[in-house]
Symmetry: C2
Subunit: 178 residues, 2 copies
Amino acid sequence: MNGDAQITGFYFQGDVIDLNISNHAKQNYGAVALETATVCKIPLAEFDEMAEQYPALSNAFLKLMSREIILKQRMMLVMSKMTAEQKVANFLVHLSTENKLRGYSPVIFNLSMTRTDVANYLGLAMETVSRIFKVFQNKGMISVERRQVSIEDFEKLESLLQDDDTKASINASTISQK
Amino acid sequence: MNGDAQITGFYFQGDVIDLNISNHAKQNYGAVALETATVCKIPLAEFDEMAEQYPALSNAFLKLMSREIILKQRMMLVMSKMTAEQKVANFLVHLSTENKLRGYSPVIFNLSMTRTDVANYLGLAMETVSRIFKVFQNKGMISVERRQVSIEDFEKLESLLQDDDTKASINASTISQK
DNA sequence: CGAGATTTTGAAATGAATCAAGCTGGGTGG
DNA sequence: CCACCCAGCTTGATTCATTTCAAAATCTCG
């Protein structure tokens, strides 16, 4: 997995991981499977063709991308406005929620990624993540054993997030005159 | 404009500011016009109808959203991996580039927003933004007079961004087994 | 001319990064 | 089966960037 690139997301079964439809993208992307994975790739031309025939398809993609934008937006908020503890709490809460959604246990699960990766994803130092796991453990909110996490007090974790007004967002639009 | 919500973007003439197509969105959004603005709003039902008739339309939206995702992704990187100076430099470089793209001067332009808003957007304290503007000015990279900015040394500004490997990104995919 | 908003500036406080060891567990080869 | 190794993780001490607090300066405009 190497160096110091930015991890932009963790994805699960059924997720669409790369929505780069346009040719805007000159960026280097890469996906790394942490567990057994199956991937389906659709060439752009082929997609266009299919979309023409089945409007529902592009509709579905619009929804997917909309969701992705909201996620990224939320992540921007996480990155810029949250303390390290809040970032980690948010991370755990989301993992738990996501797991529940998928029919797995929301209480006990596997991180299937290193501290370093989590840290990178959250824009923190590995050491900080390690320390915060410990703090949460000492407070009886979670218990961590290597990559095995169990949520002991979901509400308390969640409550860490909502102290300020970490909910609303604003799009400030700057439109040149006339 | 008020309080402490997160500013998720600044938009220009012709930009699509709200791509919330799905009903995932329970979030509070708001747009504030800093200069004279005209807005076009399309109800979801109507959009679906139009999209059915003109596949090119949803295609165009897919491209738009793809671009938006890439932007947000880049912004995540900015938020999590850059120092305050880099954030501000990046902000200025982008404004300048954006202006050029739109046929305005890339060298001298108006911030049409308060320091507080810039700070909020970049996840910094207002004072920090102020100070960094001063630093850049002292280094002869820009000159600021209230909201009037002129770029004196674009290259130097840009060079601040590329020291580390602030370019590549990785999508780490975690796909549940089988 | 005020009066409120915005910006600048300085000093002190602080959260997180960095640096530097030491620990741990799981895998490898002898 | 043991001893070693090594990547991943923890822990402590120190440093540093940025925030916060506080106050003065400057602008805007009714």
